[in-house]
Symmetry: C2
Subunit: 328 residues, 2 copies
């Protein structure tokens, strides 16, 4: 159990370090607390023993450790009051009734990324079902196969059509629509293989091509995560990476991974914070994420920033955005 003064010192160090990423010395703290630097040093030594602070070398100031941040997030941090302006900006978006939920979220994340200078992500994890399938002839020998899901995602595949009969294709499409509309997207390929294929094989000669086209369109749909990322490059401007080309390259590669958010440990109902090594992106980064559920539309919001991020501010922003979404 930490004393009041220890809590206070830890909090000051974390907040100071979040402004300027340079080890914090005892002097800058004692100025604020009206105690001598020696006393502060003694307390810092204890905080280091417990494991909440670290030194970069014997005579350096202190830097918060991962556990220090954890303790701060769980015990010391108070969610920051949001500014009226930020609240207003987000509210306005959600009051615009012509915006669909996913578009509103996207716009909000853009704003959040802009005001925090961190990266903001929305990952929709809806169980979507097949809504409709159709074909549009484009030219003599090109055809477009279109697949639509009930949450509004569209995938398409162009097909080369030489020697195929348009009428046969129409029949196939009709069949697919009749038999597998309503099926959850990730069961569609299977159903296509075992239920549709045998049937079309029977009375449609040249069905291979059209069958494959739809098969491919379906697997594209299944594999495509519905993730939007705002301010992707913001993170590269952080001081911690300013002179570290290798780290920048590493992070860029991580950011290209579609599973960047979903591969982090599962979140519970609240706002979840994954500090440093707790996320598998980078030890100098923190990911804050939370789930939302608005009348069946489910997803995950995430913000990626430096380990020394403005925890209180980000948590409030995310919390507020979540409430906007769920109030919809």
């Amino acid at each position: 159990m930490l004393s009041n003064r220890q809590n206070e010192i830890l909090k000051l160090i974390i907040e100071e370090y979040s402004k300027v990423p340079v080890p914090v010395g005892s002097k800058s703290i004692c100025d604020k607390l009206n105690i001598s630097s020696a006393t502060v040093r003694a307390e810092m030594a204890k905080l280091e023993d417990i494991g909440y602070l670290e030194k970069t070398h014997v005579s350096s100031g202190r830097v918060p450790s991962e556990n220090g941040y954890k303790y701060y997030v769980n015990n010391l941090m108070k969610p920051k009051e949001m500014t009226g302006e930020d609240m207003l900006n987000l509210q306005t978006i959600f009051q615009n009734k012509s915006l669909v939920l996913s578009d509103a979220i996207e716009k909000s994340l853009e704003i959040i990324s802009e005001i925090t200078n961190y990266t903001a992500i929305n990952l929709e994890n809806n169980e979507s079902r097949l809504k409709k399938v159709e074909v549009v002839p484009l030219s003599v020998d090109n055809l477009l196969a279109i697949v639509i899901t009930d949450n509004g995602h569209v995938e398409n595949k162009k097909i080369d059509l030489k020697n195929s009969d348009l009428e046969e294709i129409r029949k196939t499409v009709e069949l697919i629509n009749k038999l597998i509309v309503g099926t959850p997207i990730n069961e569609v390929s299977e159903k296509l293989e075992y239920e549709i294929k045998p049937i079309i094989g029977q009375y449609i000669q040249n069905h291979e091509m059209i069958y494959n086209a739809f098969y491919n369109a379906f697997s594209d749909l299944k594999n495509k995560d519905d993730m939007t990322m705002k301010g992707k490059n913001k993170i590269l401007e952080l001081e911690e990476f300013s002179n570290n080309a290798d780290k920048i390259k590493k992070i860029i590669n991580k950011f290209d991974d579609e599973n960047i958010v979903s591969s982090i440990k599962e979140e519970d109902g609240g706002i979840n914070v994954y500090i440093g090594t707790e996320n598998n992106i980078d030890e100098d980064l923190t990911v804050i994420k939370t789930k939302y559920n608005a009348k069946g539309e489910e997803g995950t919001l995430a913000i990626i920033g430096p380990k020394r991020m403005d925890y209180d501010r980000v948590v409030s922003l995310l919390d507020y955005l979540k409430s906007c979404i769920e109030r919809e």
Copy 2:
């Protein structure tokens, strides 16, 4: 006019430098030509006077200048024989009749990026026309507006539908299909504004929303360049950037620009080489691009690599790919 020996020395320097980006000294050249280093130095001094070579400091070896590369590309370089394996790989893709042209190109560029370690791009610049417009009801108050072009691109917008009459919407869609299908995509918004809007305004009450949805879908379509990029991050691994975080950030930002290829000077019919400052991406990079036209499907292929790239190899690859495409 350069002497044979000067040509030979310039060529050796460029090819040596392309392997290892370190200034080339006279010694490494004289070993290969059986003349003394003093003679090589004298020739190098002349090549520097002409402006084909540069020094990084008074006593450094020589580095090819931009003009040096230009001279090399125009006069010294012979397109390299392609390896049978590379040719076979590309041919196989184009013989696969079930692949649509754009997919075949995409696969080829993936291969080319893989074997060269450079970034490969396909930019389709078709004049596309509106093929079809339709709406799919998703739920009680959500509707999906879909727009399809004759070259097979699909854009969609979800619409919030409270208080709208489905029947009215159907009429609007019918009208759009009747009146503006066939219009070139970048004229569609205009036509929608001046020809359709007045008409639907007359006999459809609540048309604002549906009109806006389509208007937005159309502008998305217009603004979205059909560009695919393979090996985007390959370029970051180049030695010239290995310790230069700022340059990496700059290039990443450039690569996010949709106009990266089209903003470079217009290409003529052949293979065009834009060295260093001739492209507006980075002085250390070269862009090689060429147009293709296969039965009306037009586009531009581009490869982005270091200024010291394997010019002969890339030119042959691009030329071969172009011929594969146009033979289709």
